[in-house]
């Protein structure tokens, strides 16, 4: 049973477009939702995160929209650049410090110039 699910394995957008990556989860106890960006040969890098008390978090070109009632969230990457081409992972954890992360399967984003 997949507790965190990313609906698309891959997504291709043109440079300058907004890329939208979707994620859903099943466990109502999840409270903290980070998104990670991973390039080949590297570890995942923390991009942006949101707590379940918020419905939106913005950091530069990256925005998380969160819907607690529907148990889903999305990462919007505005003005996509070829350098944004990577695999993006949605993750979730409970509200206790030290809680493990549960990851989605990842979405491979390709930004075409």
């Amino acid at each position: 049973q997949q507790q965190v699910r990313q609906s698309s394995q891959s997504l291709t957008v043109w440079e300058g477009e907004t890329a939208i990556l979707n994620c859903s989860y099943e466990n109502s106890a999840f409270d903290y939702f980070p998104w990670y960006q991973q390039f080949p040969g590297e570890g995942p890098a923390l991009l942006i995160a949101i707590r379940s008390v918020s419905d939106k978090k913005e950091d530069g070109r990256f925005t998380i929209f969160f819907n607690k009632r529907e148990k889903n969230l999305s990462l919007h990457i505005k003005d996509s650049q070829p350098g944004d081409s990577a695999t993006y992972f949605c993750a979730a954890s409970g509200n206790n410090a030290g809680a493990k992360l549960t990851f989605g399967g990842g979405t491979r984003l390709t930004v075409r110039p």
Binding site: Y32, P34, Y36, G41, E42, G43, P44, A45, L46, A49, T87, F89, A91, S93, N96, A97, G98, A99, K100, L101, T102, F103, G105, G106
Partner: protein
């Protein structure tokens, strides 16, 4: 950028051999996590520590896997008797608070 250091970056072992990898968490981060990422991009949590104490670990780690985070020394993850299915990227993450986790580059283990 994460300052978590993992060594070695690549590790090749034969089946039945011991495999050991190390992690130096970011300074000031008392919580350390180990995850396994397989070739299908599936992450599996293995164990975590707060300072030197184990917070949580999965059953698998109690058998062939062992880990420790001694004070003033790197954290380590060791597989006593490697199996082909252990081939994966082993990721160490550290956290200042237990929420946001910062990953190192990983140790890619290949078991022949």
């Amino acid at each position: 950028n994460s300052k978590v250091i993992q060594t070695p970056r690549y590790l090749v072992k034969g089946q039945g051999q011991k495999a050991k990898m190390r992690c130096i968490p970011e300074k000031g981060h008392p919580v350390v996590f180990w995850y396994q990422q397989n070739k299908n991009n599936e992450f599996k949590f293995l164990i975590n520590f707060q300072n030197q104490e184990v917070l949580q670990q999965i059953d698998m780690t109690e058998k062939r896997f062992s880990a420790e985070c001694p004070s003033n020394s790197p954290c380590s993850l060791e597989i006593q008797s490697s199996e082909a299915g252990d081939s994966a990227l082993y990721l160490c993450a550290s956290s200042p608070s237990g929420y946001e986790q910062y990953f190192g580059p990983g140790t890619r283990l290949t078991v022949l």
